[in-house]
């Protein structure tokens, strides 16, 4: 028997992972949730059939979305995480002893339950006492926040489906309002490679540029995402992602990471020419 998970990365490109067995399949109010076990990537989570994370490469995504802003902000204490019900972002955040309070806003309670049961690798820290989980639409939650957070991490799904509202101008504007005067917002920024993803990436970038004075993009290599070339957005009211990077301070934390390091931090902001051009087009 051969059992394969496949995802269409474009109409003409198919990505596949050989599956050992399916661990969970369920339909929540918002989406279909599946967890598989595979020989190559370990366990992996899909939402509506789209790859969210695998045990083998999730560290890249989670380290890059967390440590980049954390190494720039001088003292991030109160943090808002939107989406990220799998717990990966939170797992990285709670490694910082100075973080006092983390609000996690996830629309789909079932994602959290399923991840706690089947993906302890990412979900293990969701019960930490600094973590406060709110099952709510992120757009609604943030509407009522003002001058409250040092850092907002937007770990959204794709810009269609339940995560759609997290790619809108009203959402980024509300994030701006929810941040303190020196706050930073980091978001999952899609991929520049395939046309459809690139359009979504440009749209998101345009809206962030309109909302924040500093808006830069950085990249990482994530094998199980379409094209493997993935971007993150760094939007900020005050701090520059490279000029304000405090390398000694981060090194002092003595944190062991699999992907992130200070050289890579700086290098990640150096983008290929074609990506630079796409970003310039909408800036």
């Amino acid at each position: 028997m051969e059992l394969w998970y496949s995802e269409m990365h474009t109409k003409n490109v198919q990505f596949g992972i050989k599956v050992d067995k399916q661990l969970f399949s369920g339909q929540s109010e918002f989406q279909r949730i599946d967890v598989f076990e595979s020989p190559e990537f370990g366990r992996f989570l899909t939402l509506d059939g789209f790859m969210m994370l695998t045990e083998k490469d999730e560290f890249i995504y989670h380290e890059m979305i967390v440590h980049v802003p954390m190494a720039v902000h001088p003292s991030p204490k109160k943090i808002l995480v939107i989406g990220a019900g799998d717990g990966g972002v939170v797992r990285e955040l709670v490694r910082y002893p100075d973080v006092e309070h983390i609000d996690l806003v996830e629309i789909d309670e079932m994602v959290v339950e399923v991840c706690k049961q089947y993906l302890p690798l990412t979900a293990s820290k969701l019960d930490e006492e600094r973590v406060h989980i709110h099952f709510q639409d992120g757009l609604k939650y943030i509407r009522k926040c003002e001058n409250e957070y040092d850092l907002i991490i937007v770990d959204s799904t794709d810009p269609f489906g339940p995560g759609e509202g997290l790619f809108t101008k009203e959402f980024y504007g509300n994030c701006y309002k929810a941040l303190k005067d020196d706050g930073i917002m980091v978001n999952q920024h899609e991929s520049p490679f395939y046309e459809e993803d690139a359009v979504a990436m440009q749209r998101a970038h345009k809206r962030i540029v309109e909302s924040f004075p500093i808006s830069r993009v950085y990249q990482a290599h994530i094998p199980t995402y379409p094209s493997g070339h993935w971007l993150f957005g760094f939007a900020s009211k005050k701090y520059h992602p490279i000029r304000d990077l405090n390398i000694p301070k981060w090194k002092n934390l003595g944190m062991k990471t699999g992907y992130y390091n200070s050289h890579l931090h700086i290098g990640a902001f150096a983008l290929p020419n074609y990506v630079e051009e796409m970003l310039r087009d909408v800036e």
Binding site: D137, T168, G173
Partner: protein, 484 residues
């Protein structure tokens, strides 16, 4: 004819059956199930084109229905509690016109609130009927027209005992309802037919806790925009008849202007939507009410915006309120509704139904979800943060009580001259001027132009209202009657 149940959809079923028969088309339409127009077929889909067919025996004929269309109309009548329902393919405009043309002839008087849709006054041009306007009270805070009162109706009837009919909006675009039951009863006591424009009231027939529908009030005819809250395709509509109306006469009136090649896409969409509403309408509109109410509460937490609701009800000028209408007064933000309408579209990719001087209207329906409601509310809260201005309240009226000098028909067909807007005061207008939407005329043919009205037109233009109705696309000139 066997009585069918509401879970059948005779037109759709006949079309499905017809598709299976694979009949060779040597009739119109010439695209021949789409094969003759590949780009159109690619764009709209083969399934759609394959049922864009002509009237024929197995599919009945809208001009003279004897089989599946008749069955579908009977089912619709049952669903709406009407004596009969006509399927209409010329928009609710055609339903409104059929109501007026079948009750009023040349010279007959008809009582109408002045904030009617232009389709009603168009019908007066066609029929030659003479309008007797009731001017609904204008709410200065909300900047909208309210309902007509029983007292106003009574006065109009006593002043014009020979009037043939009364025309009522149920509700207005903004959700305001008059006392339909009392007005209907009073009008009937005086021998008037009661015609109801329910372009914005389809859901009254299915939802719980919503204002009274025309058929339930015993009105004679009602025009229902199925394509608005009912979910059918644009341009499809229902004309409902009460028991006192001769349906065969009405059919003849409809056939004066209705296409003899009615679109089966529209007819099937009416049939399927009726089925959906009959079977699930109560639940659907409960959800719409819940979503709208939620949006209203959230919007009302944004300072400067007022999404009004049932608190307006006063037993008189606002007898009832349709809570599915999400109208928001924007003057507290120092912005016009038109400005917000444009910002929502240009900056936030949100299209609302319309913006006028003081309000925006977001149309919430069966197709909406909370996720999108959150986007609307969040965008409004962002607009409050980023665009708010200090500005005085506008002094605006939807229309200024007109002086009717001639019947719309007489004026429309009189000899006219074109005058610059500024020089047109004190002349008799020969055409329409209105903001669209909502499509309520500032001037209708036969009305005297005053300085005040010229000023209102200028102001509306300046505020960015989309003015329509005039021959001159830019509305710099007005057609006025010659020889005065």
């Amino acid at each position: 004819m066997d009585k069918l149940s509401q879970d059948s959809a005779p037109i759709m079923e006949a079309l499905k059956q017809f598709r299976r028969m694979r009949v060779v088309p040597f009739d119109v339409p010439g695209h021949k199930r789409g094969k003759g127009n590949p780009e159109l077929t690619e764009f709209l889909g083969e399934r759609c084109l394959s049922v864009d067919v002509n009237s024929m025996k197995p599919l009945d004929n809208l001009c003279h229905p004897v089989s599946v269309i008749e069955q579908a109309e009977a089912l619709a009548a049952e669903a709406f509690g009407a004596d009969w329902v006509f399927f209409m393919v010329g928009g609710t405009t055609s339903s409104v016109q059929a109501m007026i043309l079948s009750t009023c002839q040349k010279g007959d008087k008809i009582i109408l609130p002045r904030n009617v849709h232009r389709s009603a006054i168009n019908a007066l041009i066609l029929s030659g009927a003479v309008p007797v306007y009731i001017n609904p009270q204008f709410d200065d805070r909300l900047e909208i027209s309210l309902g007509i009162t029983l007292g106003q109706v009574e006065k109009a009837i006593l002043d014009n005992p020979e009037a043939k009919a009364i025309f009522i909006n149920n509700p207005t675009y903004y959700g305001i309802c008059s006392d339909l039951q009392a007005i209907t009863d009073l009008a009937h006591q005086h021998g008037l037919k009661v015609l109801v424009d329910e372009a914005h009231g389809t859901h009254f027939y299915f939802g719980k806790g919503l204002p009274l529908s025309a058929m339930a009030a015993g009105a004679d005819m009602a025009a229902v925009s199925m394509h608005k809250s009912g979910g059918s395709l644009t341009q499809s509509s229902f004309l409902l008849l009460g028991p006192t109306v001769n349906k065969d006469h009405v059919r003849q009136i409809i056939n004066l202007t209705q296409s003899t090649s009615a679109s089966y896409l529209l007819l099937a969409s009416l049939d399927i939507s009726r089925k959906r509403l009959a079977l699930g309408g109560e639940e659907i509109f409960a959800k719409v009410c819940e979503m709208t109410q939620y949006a209203r509460e959230e919007i009302n937490q944004i300072s400067g915006l007022y999404a009004y609701g049932k608190e307006l009800i006063n037993g008189d000028t606002v007898f009832d309120f349709d809570i599915t209408k999400l109208a928001v007064n924007t003057s507290g933000l120092g912005l016009t509704g038109i400005e917000i309408y444009d910002i929502l579209r240009d900056e936030y990719d949100i299209q609302v139904e319309f913006g006028d001087i003081g309000n925006i209207l977001a149309y919430v329906s069966v197709g909406d979800c909370y996720k999108d409601v959150e986007r609307l509310v969040s965008s409004l809260s962002e607009i409050n943060r980023k665009y708010r201005k200090e500005r005085n309240i506008f002094c605006y009226h939807e229309f200024i009580s007109p002086q009717v000098v001639l019947s719309p028909q007489e004026a429309f067909y009189s000899e006219k001259v074109s005058l610059p807007l500024a020089q047109s005061a004190s002349r008799v207008c020969g055409e329409f001027v209105m903001c669209y939407p909502p499509g309520i005329p500032i001037l209708a043919p036969g009305e005297e132009i005053t300085e005040e009205i010229v000023e209102l037109i200028r102001y509306s233009k300046e505020k960015g209202c989309s003015l329509t109705g005039t021959e001159d696309i830019e509305v710099k000139y007005l057609k006025v009657l010659k020889g005065e």
